[in-house]
Amino acid sequence: MEPLMAITIGVLFAAAIYMMLRRSIVKLVIGLMLLSNAANLLIFATAGMVRGAPPLVPQGLTAPEGPVADPLPQALVLTAIVIAFGVLSFAVVLVRRAWEIVRADDLDKMKDTDT
């Protein structure tokens, strides 16, 4: 599965970067979302993808029986997902405010600090 994921993640990154290079600020936000998802997947997939072995300890035991998926990248990605949501909501509201004040969606027209 990992080689397929490698290609998928490459496409996701390419899409994210393409969107971040747009002049429209709304597309920039979409690019940001794609980028955070791509990064999360990258961390998750690089650690190795295991089918049907969640990192859980069965009731009554002190350790999982047999090998399980690596729990550490999962913990990191979990944190990252939540943070990315925080960043996104902030960015979306910021863009909205900017639009209300500047009335411009074009990043090239948002080069001054004092509008």
Binding site: I7, L56, A75, G86, D106
Partner: protein
Amino acid sequence: MQLAVLGGFVVAGMAPLLHHWFGARTPLVMALLPASLSAWLLGQWPAVASGEVLLLEWAWVPGLDITLTFLIDGLAWLFAMLITVIGALVLVYSGEYLRGHRDLPRFLVVITAFMMSMLGLVLADNLVTLFVFWELTSITSYLLIGFNHTDLAARKAALQGLFVTVGGGLALLAGFAMLAVAGDSWSLAELTRRGELLREHALYTPLLVCVLLGAFTKSAQFPFHFWLPNAMAAPTPVSAYLHSATMVKAGVYLLARLHPALGGTDGWVITLSLVGALTMATGAFLAIQHTNVKKLLAYSTVMALGTLTMLLGIGTEGALVAFVIFLLAHSLYKGALFMVAGILDHETGTKDVTAMGGLRRVMPITAAVAGVAALSLAGLPPLLGFVGKELMFASVLSVDAWRPLILLLAFTAAFLTLAVAAIVALRPFFGVPRETPRAPHEAPHAMLAGPALLAALSLSFGLAPGLLDPLVGATVAGIGAPGAEVHLALWHGVNLPLLLSLASLLLGLLAYRHWDRLRAWLARLEPLMARGPEAGYEALMAGMVSVAGWQTRMLQNGHIRNYLVVTLLVLVGLVGHALVFRHTLEFDFALAVYFHEAVVAGLMIAGAVAACVMRSRLAAVAALGIMGFSIALTFVLFSAPDLAITQLLVETLTVILLVLVLFRLPRFATLSTPIERLRDLAVASLTGGLITLLMLSVLSGERLPRISDYMTANSQPLGHGHNIVNVILVDFRALDTLGEMFVLALAAIGVYAMLRFHAEAYDARRQAPPPERDDG
């Protein structure tokens, strides 16, 4: 000694306090420091005279081979003596020259710091230490030239001096590094013993070029000579000390110090003798065009520095002896003459020699001192300058390569210098008295003591040059002619050097008689002069500013996508290069994929691509949602139930948020041209491809043992939890989670603030005509 030098910096820092205690007598008190140092040096004389090389060890950074070891041989001793003796005299002199000046304490701080840096420079045995002191002299010199910081010309001159010398210093640093590599030592004492090794090393030519660049800029050699006359914007004591007797000789000192290590090759001999001879002639030629007494002296200093460089280039035993005599003679007479120039300026209020006349009646002692010092400058018997000049001519006559040219340049310099000496010594003191801005009086004793002592030394060494035999012998031994038999005499009989001296005397007097006409004639060369090296410096500075402006406009252009493109292309270039050329790409894995997994991956790709190409905002958000939910499915399929739950929740919230907010935003507009889109697509594909490659190469590499094995094993026993991911989040890495909560709280506060602000602004705007709305 090291303690004395380092302590000297402390004394320098205490100057304002001392000034508080001693008032106008502070310079006298501070002069005790160099005076006692010179007394200590005198105590070392017997050892130095017997040819001993004193090494005062002092470890500084042992791990890097950097020491504060001081090396005292004849050469270092001579320079240290000049620095301390003239330093003491200059301090005494400046007390009078700057009497009542409100910035006197600042002056004392900087000049004492300079004195100590200079002393450290000539005594240092370690290349790094030498370099540190070298740069310190550049910085203190900058502060001293710019002492009158309200004067634009002074600030400009200070900056120019700094740029030229520090620029050379950079080259010198590179040169030193190569020197240390080639000679396998940072110690000068060691390096001077490894001359053969160095001269045959592959790095010899580049290191020589770098070292010479450093030395030439510091010692104002052609074509870097222009900063020195401009540095005359400094107060006269500074000019007398830094820009004639000491700092500008640092470059010459370095060349002399490295002569045993690097000297003797064709490159060394030809470069030094030609550059030196050119500098000599240029300095003398430019000198006679000026009427400002300090400029006259400054250009004649350039001439003298050229002479010293040329003599080191010639490098025969006779030339080295001439070098030492000329160095000593120049420091003595030039220090005296500068102090006389300061007296003239101080008493008459002008620096223009053509505006003075007949001053010998009111200032007889000054006139006598000036006369003696100028005789030495002119190279006339019975002064030390004469001895030096005879030896110089003798060495030039012994040159093999380029002899006629060097002789011509040296002869021109000699007779023009004679004219300069006559101008300085005769013009202000003889002839008809003239009205000057201030009514002149004889200078106070403190100002006369220094020049008088230096002039007296010039005279007595000239009358009995034999006194200098041991000193010259010991110094020459340090430059690379050990065991030289030195017998100096004033009179060598009638020989070719004497005849050359006579001829230069006649021509020089002729030039003096017709000086005014000569100057008028030379003034016609002005347009040519305006294209000299200084114009090159100005052009370089202006060019630097415009290049900086251009590249700031280019790089800091305010377009976020340009920054991104540059950053990404650099990333792709560097990482891609390393990946392809430094790393063998091997891919060996079985592609074990179930059908439903491939479908999920396909959905992700389709969602991402669709989000990019959709022209409707709703469709783009829906495509993003498809991608997000497919990611959640992937998490479900590959053993990450917690991630799947989180992703589902967040994805739902995101879609709701976007739907709510995006519809208050403008429609998608097509703002870029197809070519721009193609360029962006190329950058994006390159980066995406690089990441795929990187991930594949990571996957095919060897797996290191997991660091989470400890967590897996201890989740239940230590954390009392069955879900290992949860235990990691709230237990093993609880601080991370705490930080995450802060981030979320901050983002929430930011969002809330922006929405609140919006509401208030809306209320305020309600009275005004409704703003343009876009309800897409």
